[in-house]
């Protein structure tokens, strides 16, 4: 049995709690926030998880320490949390964009991350686009430019997302570029208030001249999308790769599992699904 602690009682933390509790072999031994009576702590308590309102300190004062801590706080708080875990020999799965650990997208490099003491989950856009980027690259190894346009619903974009757009773009670009060795990656994000809320959509655009065979690339995309569905069941191509002159485009739609968050919040679901896959394999 893997003993997991969840730090941070927001949407991400609550959704991960449900995912962990529903997974055989994982036990949530602590759920920590900062404010007593917060909506998240109340939710966790009702689900039978041991809760504390004293953050990382509350988790560590417990006699039996967790094997793994999932940090769902913020990039600013992560260094402190990581240091505390290191002192106690606890491995960290980092949901913040702090990037102190090894960056991980399960379908791309999970095996190579399993030895690390800090595994960073990049960003929601990173988790949604990386599989397709990998698929396109497998079929076209010399690809040097790739563009990612994610559109998420206003309802699924919390205050943290809205305050960190510039950092999100820069860090997602860097992560994809360095993990896949693609020279230039451009990331764009739209937040739309359309009602009903749209399910997360991510479009990937490349120069048509860099696609050797559209048929082979499409097959590669379907193959990797199927592998991704092994841990993120709502991951589907919504537009097949197609050339429109200079550019070629395909699109995936990510529907959430509907655990704690509504199905349209595929952006939050996919990063949590990826984290759960990491924990399962650790």
């Amino acid at each position: 049995m893997k003993r997991v602690a969840i730090l941070g009682s927001g949407n991400i933390g609550c959704d991960l709690l449900v995912k962990c509790q529903e997974t055989v072999g994982i036990e949530v031994v602590s759920f920590a926030g900062r404010h007593a009576n917060s909506k998240g702590l109340d939710f966790a308590a009702r689900r039978g998880a041991p809760v504390t309102d004293r953050s990382i300190e509350g988790i560590l004062e417990d006699g039996e320490k967790p094997d793994i801590l999932i940090d769902c706080t913020s990039a600013a708080h992560h260094p402190h949390n990581y240091n505390m875990c290191r002192e106690h020999g606890i491995r960290v799965v980092d949901m913040t964009p702090a990037k102190l650990g090894v960056t991980c997208c399960p379908v791309v490099n999970l095996d190579r991350c399993l030895g690390a003491d800090n595994i960073n989950m990049i960003s929601c856009g990173g988790q949604a686009s990386m599989p397709i980027c990998l698929a396109i690259q497998k079929a076209n190894p010399s690809i040097s430019y790739i563009e990612i346009v994610s559109t998420i619903s206003s309802a699924s974009a919390g205050p943290g997302t809205r305050k960190n757009i510039s950092q999100y773009i820069t860090s997602t670009q860097k992560a994809i570029s360095s993990m896949l060795g693609i020279e230039t990656v451009k990331v764009i994000i739209n937040i739309t208030p359309a009602i009903p809320p749209i399910h997360m959509k991510t479009s990937i655009l490349v120069d048509s001249e860099q696609i050797a065979s559209e048929a082979d690339t499409r097959a590669s995309i379907e193959d990797i999308a199927a592998q991704t569905r092994n841990y993120a069941p709502g991951y589907h191509t919504s537009v097949k790769l197609r050339s429109l002159g200079q550019k070629s485009m395909c699109q995936v739609q990510v529907t959430g599992s509907g655990h704690y968050l509504p199905p349209y919040a595929g952006n939050l679901d996919i990063i949590n699904c990826a984290a759960l896959e990491v924990i399962r394999r650790l």
Partner: protein, 338 residues
Amino acid sequence: MTKPLFYDVTLRDGCHANQHSFEAEFCSTYIDNAYAAGIRYLEVGHGNGLGGSSLHIGRLKHPLLWQVVAEKAATYPDLKIGVHVIPGLATFEDMKQAAEMGVSVFRIASHCTEADTTETYVGYAADQGHEVWGLLMMAHMIKPDHLAREAKKIESYGADRIVFLDSAGALTPTMVGRITREITQVVEVPVGFHAHNNLHAAVANSLSAISSGCASIDACARGYGAGAGNLSMEALAALLEKDEIPTGLDLKKLTALAALLEKHHPSSLPIVDSLSTATGFHGVFSGFKPKILEAAACFGVDPMDIIAELGKAQVIAGQEDQIIATASELAAAQEASS
């Protein structure tokens, strides 16, 4: 009516008309002539602003434009050169580079309901001592009081001015007047308006904005901008002159500026056609026009159907990929029913 400030967006919004292909030499001549005509605020760059150059929206063909900006900023110390900044496309790094080239006005823009996405961008530009304007795009999509609340948010982040954009050319003069009054009631800073001509109402809407209390007007020489075009700068200046409202602009030179544009870009001069009427009516972003035509041709579907679907789905500026997705769905539906 008071003397409105003219903010010239030709070299930015015009990029939508010519697929982002202004040449540096033309920009240089344009800026000299605009300055001579009395323009003191002028915007440059990709149609969607900093970071807009992409396969998704279109690549800027001549990025050397920035050398022209640096040159003109040095030549005309009282000319303010601005850029359009959409959080989601642009980064702080893009803003830093623009400032180094002499850009001194940052117009931070969000979809009308998402003002809080501008907070850190407004703060970043304001902290560096730049003039910051807050822009609310696709203003037709929400009620005036909601728009005013969003305007108040951007003001609270530190914006020096609020501009509401009729990005789809979907507003009427009555609506523009109502919005102007709602916003000016709640914000202390000056308010501006940005028109598009999809329903032939750019001039009427801008006059309504000025008479209701807007202090600045976005305009283009020859209305050279996205879709059916923007407000024609020279037409508004001529109307104001007839009504003896001072503009500080030289009408003869403004007309010559429009002629300069006509001479250099004869094949992409905006016109109001059936397609723009449809985009205006359905409230679809003006800049989508060339992409709607491209997708319609590629998938063999009617552009009017694409426009109606995009309107129904409340697609916003920046969702160019949804034009392709919609065309692809329409083509699949066509195939299934035949």
